[in-house]
């Protein structure tokens, strides 16, 4: 006895032939695709997008902060002409670290590899912006009286440097987009995108009358 073919039992058999037995798999494949892409988008992509890099020296901000008089500006200072020095150059470090002051292996590494060889430390800068972005520290810190922490977070309290996560496409740090892949933030320093600049400028009621909103305002920051 032949088993009746399933399609014979259903009406409209001529059309049903193709659909039969595929209804389940079609949904299954849809779900497979969905789950797969969710995994790719949420797990694989972030993992692949960023490479992990270690800083050349594990610098202890907290320790140094306790030793200097002038807070962040002791090392990250403004030059006489108002420009910002950014990450200290070797010459500044040498003022205290001509010889190792402790047995700390990181300090010894620093003195041996950089001070003695007169090589600049290739620090990886978490807040480095693309070259098309012009940012004046003087305008924000000197004129706007902003705190370093507002944008940079409590770096001064950190005892070691976190790994530098470099975006493989852009070459910039993950800290610009923020750790959260959706770009959500809890603190003002979690992200450093243009929207974050705009948010603050708007909050501070800077939108009207500030140079950024005038004609050619684009070129205030994008030179």
């Amino acid at each position: 006895m032949e088993e009746p073919k399933a399609n014979l039992t259903s009406p409209g058999s001529e059309h049903g032939e193709k659909e039969d037995g595929a209804g389940g798999p079609i949904i299954l494949f849809f779900i497979l695709g969905l789950i797969g892409s969710l995994l790719v988008g949420w797990v694989a992509f972030p993992a692949l997008l960023y490479s992990q890099k270690k800083q050349p020296i594990d610098f202890d901000h907290a320790l140094h902060n306790g030793l200097v008089d002038n807070g962040c500006e002791s090392c990250h200072f403004f030059r006489e002409d108002g420009t910002y020095s950014g990450v200290p150059q070797l010459a500044q470090c040498v003022q205290c670290h001509e010889e190792a002051n402790s047995e700390n292996p990181e300090e010894i590494k620093f003195v041996e590899n950089y001070v003695k060889k007169e090589r600049e430390v290739p620090w990886l800068v978490y807040s480095r912006q693309p070259d098309c972005v012009f940012f004046s520290h003087a305008a924000h810190v000197k004129a706007g009286k902003m705190e370093c922490i507002t944008c940079h977070g409590p770096v001064g309290e950190s005892e070691s440097l976190k790994p530098y996560q470099q975006n493989r496409i852009t070459g910039y740090s993950r800290d610009i987009w923020g750790t959260n892949m959706l770009g959500l933030k809890r603190n003002s320093w979690d992200r450093m995108k243009m929207d974050d600049c705009a948010e603050c400028h708007e909050k501070a009621h800077m939108a009207a009358g500030s140079v950024q909103t005038q004609k050619d305002g684009c070129f205030v920051c994008h030179k």
Binding site: P25, I26, I27, G36, G41, W42, C132
Partner: protein, 733 residues
């Protein structure tokens, strides 16, 4: 379970839906846009500390102050120096391109010697000892006068060291490259007795009558003239531009007077005629401070009545009369000449006629007038001790004929050198030194120049770049460029007050170079005897410091020193007056407008070169910034476009952009046509500064060097180069 097309599509749709729910597409879009806006292979100057160094630009004789912006030890931008009396913050396109002159790849990086046609790097010691031994040998043979030196300036310590070297060595042949300075200096000397540079107080004038002078095209000190012309017009002053083509200056003038080319002098004399006839001249100046007016009446006699001048120049007689009245009636009128950027001296009698116009209206040594700026006098070295060879050599006539019986008042005649060299069987010049000059490119009739120079057994170039003259030299002893060395710059062409600028080493010399001053001192020491005795300095820098004395420190600090209380000195003629005539002037042959050389039937058109601010045509080759800025109407790919009036083009059957062959008695060139209503029918306008064979792919092989097509025209009586155009023919290619 069967995987068919449907399940695959389902998978893809599921994947797409899922992807949209992840940050992937949004983040990727953002990252890709950042990446594409910051191509990692685009060179970006490294970040660092910004600093500014105040210095002086020497890319032209404009004497502008510059403020050089550096990031750490790298020059990134050159700006005009604010508050500088010459340019007050202004900078021309060439000045701003100085970074390319510094870091460009046509720099000569070490002393070179040509061995079997190829360059070989040698040491400075070898170069100096080899050249010195040739010099000693020539001296031994009693022919020191066969050494000549070509330089683009005769002012400042470097030029004076070169001249001093020649003097104690025994040669009178220090030659400055030709420019309108020659003719203006001569006009001042002949009429006022002053050995002085001409300064023009354009800014304070109320009416400027320019005989073809490109006030915005490189005439005088470019940024100074831009500012002064702008200031003059802003205060209600007027500019009338006499020009055969609608130059940029003519376009910016209040009145454009298109005259037939080469008839500027006729027009000037015509204006003198009207001013004298109608008694429009300033009687106070002419009666008290000038002499020889009768002779001027003779000079500008009936032959220069408005109708005759109208016929010669193409202007209407009424226009000429009105122009004379407007000029003489202005509060502070000023007449200037020197065509375009003043790169060719011209006919001295035209300069005299224009200078007479200024004298008739009293605009001599007054605010808004022509100022005789005395030559710098701070170089006071002890007279060198001369031996017998040197004294005898110095008594020989100059190889270029300047100062001889034929050209008694002329100081330099580089344009005559090729002919002199070609004439004899043994070259009268055995050694030629060339510092900051490129005569094999910049002299009229380059073919003859190159041919003549080939007869010189030893050519030594001090160029920082492998230019045309350096390429044909036997040694190149590269000098550091102005951003790498100290040097005094006692000239700002056309600036109405004496000024000294100082160039400073903004960066350490990039290559194995030595300042020409140092090489001269070392050469002198190697030659020995009284030659060495005249150079007691240890180095050029020591010489410069000692020469400047108390001026050194303020100069180093400010970058320049200007004499604020300057007042022009008295006339130094025999009569102590401005002389419309005297023995020297009377000796000049009668004035005649010079025709363009060539046969009019074979060459129905006339080629007139013009100058552009976007090209340089002297000692310096245009850096890429300049060439890239050229309009498509000037350079089309590698072809120069020549300006032709549409009427003329129609006769020949040439359309806009058509390929054509331009022929002159001196040669042929491939060009493209640019139909331009602003040029007179019958003329062909071509820009100066292209057609280099040396330098790099950004400059070489682009367009045509106008000097290749031009023939030399000697101004009788002075010997100066007076060519303004040449007969030409344009045919379809």
């Amino acid at each position: 379970m069967k995987i068919d097309r449907r399940s695959f599509l389902s998978f893809v749709i599921g994947g797409a839906a899922g992807t949209a729910l992840t940050p992937l597409p949004w983040k990727l879009t953002d990252d890709l846009s950042i990446w594409s806006q910051n191509w990692p292979w685009t060179p970006v100057p490294p970040k660092g500390e910004t600093s500014y160094v105040t210095s002086t630009c020497t890319l032209c004789p404009g004497g502008c102050g510059i403020s050089v912006r550096k990031v750490d030890e790298r020059v990134v931008k050159i700006e005009g120096l604010k508050g500088h009396p010459v340019n007050d913050g202004g900078v021309c396109i060439l000045g701003a391109s100085g970074t390319q002159m510094l870091y460009g790849h046509t720099r000569v990086q070490a002393p070179l010697k040509k061995v079997d046609g190829a360059w070989r790097t040698i040491t400075w010691d070898q170069a100096i000892s080899e050249i010195a031994s040739t010099l000693k040998e020539l001296r031994g043979k009693g022919r020191p006068q066969s050494v000549a030196w070509v330089s683009d300036t005769d002012r400042g310590t470097t030029a004076e060291l070169c001249r001093r070297f020649l003097t104690v060595y025994g040669s009178p042949n220090f030659i400055r490259t030709p420019s309108m300075q020659d003719a203006y200096e001569m006009a001042l000397y002949l009429t006022q007795g002053n050995r002085a540079m001409a300064g023009f107080d354009v800014g304070q004038a109320t009416y400027v009558l320019s005989f073809g002078s490109g006030l915005v095209e490189g005439w005088g000190s470019p940024p100074y003239m831009f500012r002064a012309k702008g200031a003059m017009q802003a205060k209600g002053g007027r500019l009338s531009q006499v020009d055969a083509r609608l130059s940029k200056t003519a376009a910016k003038a209040d009145q454009w007077l298109p005259v037939k080319p080469g008839t500027d002098g006729v027009l000037a004399l015509g204006l003198i005629h009207v001013i004298l006839k109608e008694g429009l001249y300033r009687k106070d100046f002419v009666a008290d401070k000038a002499g020889g007016l009768d002779s001027l009446r003779n000079l500008a006699g009936d032959a220069y009545a408005p109708e005759a001048v109208s016929k010669a120049t193409g202007l209407e007689a009424k226009t000429i009369v009105d122009l004379a009245k407007a000029f003489a009636g202005a509060k502070k009128p000023l007449a200037i000449c020197g065509r375009g950027a003043g790169r060719v001296p011209g006919n001295v009698q035209e300069y005299l006629a224009v200078h007479f116009l200024n004298a008739l209206v009293g605009s001599i040594n007054t605010p808004g007038g022509v100022i005789a700026v005395p030559e710098p006098d701070y170089i006071r070295w002890p007279e060198p001790e001369m031996d017998a060879v040197a004294s005898k050599g110095m008594q020989q006539p100059r190889v270029d004929g300047a100062g001889t019986k034929s050209f008694p008042v002329t100081r330099y005649l580089l344009n005559r050198l090729p002919e002199t060299l070609a004439a004899g069987s043994t070259a009268p010049v055995q050694v030629l030194f060339v510092s900051s000059a490129n005569p094999a490119y910049s002299l009229v009739d380059t073919q003859s120049v190159v041919k003549a120079f080939e007869k010189i057994p030893l050519i030594v170039s001090f160029s920082s770049y492998m230019d045309e003259t350096a390429a044909m030299a036997h040694y190149v002893l590269p000098s550091p460029i102005y951003l790498e060395r100290f040097e005094d710059v006692p000239v700002a062409l056309g600036f109405p007050r004496p000024i000294i600028g100082l160039t400073k080493p903004v960066v350490k010399p990039l290559f194995n170079t030595q300042p020409t001053g140092d090489v001269v001192i070392r050469l002198a020491k190697a030659v020995g005897g009284t030659v060495a005795g005249a150079f007691k300095w240890e180095s050029y820098e020591a010489c410069l410091k000692q020469t400047l004395g108390n001026t050194w420190e303020p100069l180093k600090k400010n970058g320049y020193q200007v004499d604020a209380k300057f007042a022009p000195g008295p006339f130094e003629t025999q009569s102590k007056k401005f002389e419309f005539t005297n023995a020297d002037i009377a000796q000049l042959p009668a004035y005649a407008a010079r025709k363009a050389p060539g046969d009019e039937t074979s060459y129905p058109l006339t080629l007139v070169p013009y100058d552009s601010m976007r090209l340089t045509a002297g000692a310096i080759g245009s850096p890429p910034f300049l060439v890239k800025s050229l309009e498509a109407t000037v350079l089309s790919k590698n072809d120069v476009r020549v300006e032709v009036n549409p009427a003329t083009a129609k006769e020949i059957g040439l359309a806009d952009g058509a390929d054509a062959v331009l022929s002159t008695p001196k040669g042929n060139a491939k060009v493209k046509v640019y139909l331009f209503d602003g040029i007179m029918p019958g003329l062909v306008g071509m820009v100066r500064g292209l057609g280099h064979t040396a330098y790099d792919r950004f400059l070489a092989g682009k367009g045509v060097n106008t000097n290749d097509l031009m023939g030399s025209v000697e101004d009788p009586g002075t010997g100066l180069e007076a060519v303004w155009g040449i007969r030409a023919k344009l045919a379809k290619a």
